[in-house]
Amino acid sequence: MKDIITLAIESSCDETCAAILKNGREILSNVVSTQIDLHKKFGGVVPEVASRKHIENIELVIQSALDEAKLSFKDIDVIGVTYGPGLVGALLVGLSSAKALSFALDIPLVGVNHIEGHIAANFIEHKDLEPPFVCLIVSGGHTHLVEVKGYGEYEILGKTRDDAAGEAFDKIARALNLGYPGGPKIDKLSKIGNKKAIDFPRIYLEEDSFDFSFSGLKSAVLNYLNSKKMKNEEIVVEDVAASFQEAVLDVLVDKSIKAARVKGYDKVVLAGGVAANSGLREKLSEKGKEYNIDIKYPPLSLCTDNAAMIGCAAYYDYLNGKVSDLYLNAVPNLKLGQK
C-alpha cells in the first residue's frame, strides 16, 4: 500500500504548529512556534495577541515543516487541522490556512478535535498501542477521563465540573507568585517541598462518579495563604506547592485506576499538557503497578500542544472516511466525540 503523508496544522491556543506524518504514526517533522514569552507580561494567553502572532507565523511554520521533512506540497496526501475546542480567533487562522491548502492542492481536509489529538499523541510514541483503553486527558483547558473504544471512538466517563486541572495549577501558581505558566513551576517545587505539610481536601464527588472538581481545593489553598498572611506567618512556598499538587494527583490517579478496573481494561493512557507533570507520571505508574495496569504517556514534546498529534488523529479519521468539506468552521467549545 502507498504511504499516506499528512500535513497537520494546530493553532487553538498560543502555539503555532505544523507537522508532517507518514502513515499517521511516524513523525517526519513537528514544528512548534511557541508564544509563551509574548503572553508572559499579560499573565496568561491573550486571544487577540495570540491570533495576531498565528497569522504572522503560520505559513513560515508550514514551510519549516515541509523543509524538515524534505518534502514539498505535491507529496502531501491529506490536510489535518484543529477546528476546536480552543480560542476562536486563533483556531480560524490555522483553519483558514488549512482549507485554502486543501483546495489549492486538491486533497482531502480532515477537521480534528484538539482533545482527540492529545489522545493520539500516544499512538505516535507507542507504536504497538491499540484501543481500547482508558485515557486521562489533563491540560490547561480540559480534564477528561475517557474510554477510548477504537480509533476515533470515545465515551466520556467523567470530566471536570469547574476548573480544569491545569487551570487550577495556573491559579495557584499565580497566588504563589510563581508566574506563568504555573504547572511546570509547581511540579519543580513539589520535588523539594513536603507533600504532607498541609492536608488540603481531596474532592472525589459521588461514590460512582468519574467527574472532577478542583474549585474547592483551589479555595482551600487560597484560604490557607490568606490566613497565613493575616497572621503574619511564614509561607513555605514549596510545601504549599507540594501539598497542593499531591491533592490534585491523588484524585486524578485514583479515578483513572478505578475507571480502568471498573471498565475492565489493563491500560491507562495519559495525555495533555499536564501529562508532562513528573509527579503525575510517577504516581500513576506506581499505582498502575499495584493493580497490574500498564501506564503509558507521551514524551514531553508531545504532551504540550503540537500538530503531530493532530496529524495522527486526522490520519485515522481519514482512514475511517471522516473527511470535512470547505464549509468547516471553528467550534470553540467542541466536545469530545462530537463531529
Partner: protein, 237 residues
C-alpha cells in the same frame, strides 16, 4: 495574467477573478458575517463556474485592512496559503482604498467608513486627480460624531460609502453636503480589489506571501491596557 481578489474586512465577503482585459467572475455576499464558513466555498465555486483552476492564477489581491480583525485574518490566511502553494506574489490592498475605488472618477471627496465598533470607524479621504485615486488624508480610527462634525465643516461635495454608512445612517442623514453611494457601489467589491492589485503589480508593489500581514491600525485591547498600567506605575514612582 489572472488575478484572484479577496476581501473579508467587513460584513461583506467578496471574491473575483480578473485579467488585464476583463472581469471574469465576481461573487459577493453581504449577509451575516460568517466568512470562515463562506469564503472557501465561494472561492471554490468561482473557479468552478469559469472552468479555471488555482494553477491559472498569477497574482492574489487581498484586503489587509483596516477592518474586523477576525475577518481580516480569514482573508489574509486564505490568500497566504494559496500564494504559498502556487508560489505567486500577493498585492496587499487597503480596504478603504478598495472602497474609494468603487467611485471611479467621482468629483469631490470620497470618504469610506468601515465599522471599528464602540461608535468608532476606520476612515480616510480620497480624491480622483487626473484619472488616479489619491489619498488626501492618513487613514485613522475616529469616533463617528467627530467625523460628522468634521464633515459638517467642509464645503466640498463628499461621497460616503462602506458598511459604516448603514450602521450610522441616522446620524449621517443630518449632514447636508454628503452623498451616499448607491447600493451597487456602496460596499466592497473584489473587482476593485483585483484592479488595484493589478496596478500594484505593474508598479512592482507586491509582497512575498511570507511578508503579508493584516493592517490593524489598532492595538489589541490587552496591549492598550498593559501600556496604561505601565504608565500608571511610572507615574506613581
Amino acid at each position: 495574467m489572472k488575478i484572484l481578489g479577496i476581501d473579508t474586512s467587513s460584513q461583506v465577503a467578496t471574491v473575483a477573478i480578473m485579467d488585464e482585459d476583463k472581469l471574469i467572475a465576481e461573487y459577493t455576499i453581504n449577509y451575516k458575517k460568517n466568512h470562515s464558513e463562506n469564503l472557501m466555498p465561494m472561492i471554490s465555486e468561482i473557479f468552478r463556474s469559469c472552468d479555471m483552476k488555482v494553477d491559472d492564477i498569477d497574482l492574489i489581491g487581498v484586503c489587509i485592512g483596516p477592518g474586523s480583525f477576525t475577518g481580516l485574518r480569514i482573508g489574509v490566511a486564505t490568500a497566504k496559503a494559496i500564494a504559498h502553494v502556487r508560489n505567486i506574489p500577493i498585492a496587499p490592498v487597503n480596504s478603504l482604498e478598495a472602497l474609494a475605488f468603487n467611485m471611479n472618477f467621482s468629483k469631490g471627496i470620497i470618504c469610506p467608513i468601515i465599522d471599528a465598533q464602540r461608535s468608532d470607524v476606520y476612515t480616510s479621504k480620497y480624491t480622483w486627480e487626473s484619472n488616479t485615486l489619491v489619498s488626501i488624508e492618513e487613514m485613522s480610527v475616529k469616533n463617528i460624531d467627530d467625523l460628522i462634525d468634521e464633515l459638517n465643516d467642509r464645503y466640498d461635495e463628499i461621497v460616503l460609502l462602506g458598511e459604516g454608512v448603514d450602521i450610522h445612517r441616522e446620524k449621517l442623514n443630518k449632514l447636508g453636503n454628503i452623498y451616499i453611494a448607491p447600493n451597487s457601489h456602496k460596499l466592497s467589491k473584489a473587482s476593485s480589489v483585483c484592479q488595484i492589485a493589478l496596478q500594484k503589480y505593474e508598479s512592482g508593489d507586491t509582497l512575498d506571501y511570507k511578508k503579508v500581514e493584516p493592517l490593524y491600525i489598532r492595538k489589541s485591547q490587552a496591549e492598550v491596557q498593559y501600556e496604561e498600567k505601565l504608565k500608571r506605575m511610572n507615574n506613581n514612582e
